[in-house]
Amino acid sequence: MDLEMVRRQRMNEIEVAQISCGSEYTGIQHEIESAAEQVGAKIIFPDIDLEEVEAAEAKFGLKVTSPDLKLMLARAISVVEGHTTADAVFIGTCFRCAEGALVRNEIRRYVHDKSGLPVISYSYTERTTADTLLTRMEALTTIAKRRSLLAREKQSGLTAGIDSGSTTTKAVIMQDNEILGFGWVGSTDVLESAEEAYSIALSESGIERDAVQAIGVTGYGRFMLGKSFNADLVQEEITVNSKGAVYLADRHKGAATVIDVGGMDNKAISVQDGIPGIFTMGGICAGASGRFLEMTAKRLGVDITELGKLALAGKASNISMNSYCIVFGIQSLVNSLSKGARHEDVAAAACYSVAEQVFEQQLQEVEVREPVIMVGGTALIEGLPQAMRELLQAEVIVPPYAQLIGAVGSALLSSGFIEE
């Protein structure tokens, strides 16, 4: 590589300030740096004097006992006050450290509110890998450096979007801000499922493959699809789903919170003017995923598409749920059925359990601002947005085509590449 290329690469490099406790002692610092490197970012550590560490608690207003948490406070202050220049901030502490979790949350809020920099926080174990962090780091760098891409509010030209999800694969064809057709199939082989969904979408739209001017891909299989479909845009789900959600809900301006309960992980994203601010992506447990609702539907002998309506006719509080775990949670439901519980109540309890877990374990990490836009296939299970509405006591919107959120977001954003 010649020096000019190195220089150009460096100029485009995004600097992510790491504010953390314990990462160098969990053996995963290399994983954090590797994830950053893969998305063209570089991890930097704010330089701090000892005096600044000692003064940090009083300045921040939070007393902590662990010295490395004091160092975190000092580093956060350095970023906010501009002594450290960075494009984005990664905040991390050890999983299961209560003091660390408090500091992580407060620093995340502080940096986001005072600096406007994109922020992501994560609690790690020694098993955290670069792959786990990659999507989050990709979203962070996109928000930091591609604001012009994120400013797009209308789809133009003829574009396609494919979302390779863990459970289902979605494809959509859009033209001049309209959805012409879509395909929605179960995910098996990444490429075959994408090809099937795309073919259905093309056929439904009456569009020839060659006529598509740009294509965007997202989801777990995005990198494979990017190569196979020669995609113009290969983008993680946080950015794409945020754009797709505000586009479909027609809430481009102002605040919103996007919740996507997926088949394998959940996303909660606090959005301002269509741009993701604070977001979390977990990973909580299968009991808080679409999979739990699928298993409940199967046990009740109904199709997943009928579970939501069933839930709306039931009352969750009639069922005793002893566990959030997918195995023991189902066991609670089975026990209730054996005691003669109504299927409607069991369906409602399953929806409430998933919503409650997202509420208790994930929404604490983002600032929930109305409207709440629920997306993804699970948003169509009516009992779930209803349960979320009850828990949050907030306006919850399920936009049309909510299940296609990633594909629509990809088609929307990829139309920017036609003009380029």
């Binding site: 406790c21 002692y25 969990t26 053996g27 010295p67 050890c94 999983f95 450290c97 660390g100």
Partner: protein
């Protein structure tokens, strides 16, 4: 010469005092040095390798933060080899620290549970207290003899 565990375990002042009185200080820098200089370990100077926290499982199970296990993997050989200990409480960060209060609490407990000679001191906050601090350390270290007495005490 006795093996003296010091806490904070990266305190250069304690390290120096122990050495001056003819004993062997056990400090975390020695463990980090092994990782930095050992051929084949590809992550220096990041303190530990991804495998190290598994050693920490000896002291802290998975419900404990991973950073505690990682730190304990560094401290394990020091705890094992210790024949006496000097623990300084409430020291400012500049005097030395392990970064994590939970690790400090665990290490304090483990070293006391070994039933070896221990000198526990508060960090001095005046000149007189500092003189007394050094005096107490010198008395403690001189009283240990060549280390064999320390083991049997």
């Amino acid at each position: 010469m006795a093996n003296i565990f010091i806490y904070p375990s990266n305190s250069l002042i304690l390290y120096d005092l122990v050495e001056r009185f003819g004993h062997k200080p056990l400090a975390v820098m020695q463990e980090i040095k092994k990782r930095v200089t050992t051929a084949g370990i590809d992550s220096p100077p990041l303190n530990i390798t991804p495998e190290d926290p598994k050693i920490g499982l000896k002291y802290a199970a998975v419900e404990v933060p991973a950073g505690v296990r990682g730190r304990m993997s560094l401290l394990d050989p020091l705890l094992e080899d210790s024949e006496a200990a000097i623990l300084v409480e409430d020291a400012p960060i500049g005097f030395g620290c392990m970064g994590c209060q939970r690790t400090s609490e665990l290490v304090g407990f483990l070293i006391r549970a070994k039933r070896i000679p221990i000198l526990e001191l508060s960090y001095p906050t005046s000149d007189d207290a500092a003189e007394n601090f050094v005096y107490q350390i010198s008395e403690f270290l001189n009283g240990l003899g060549d280390g064999k007495e320390a083991k049997n005490e």
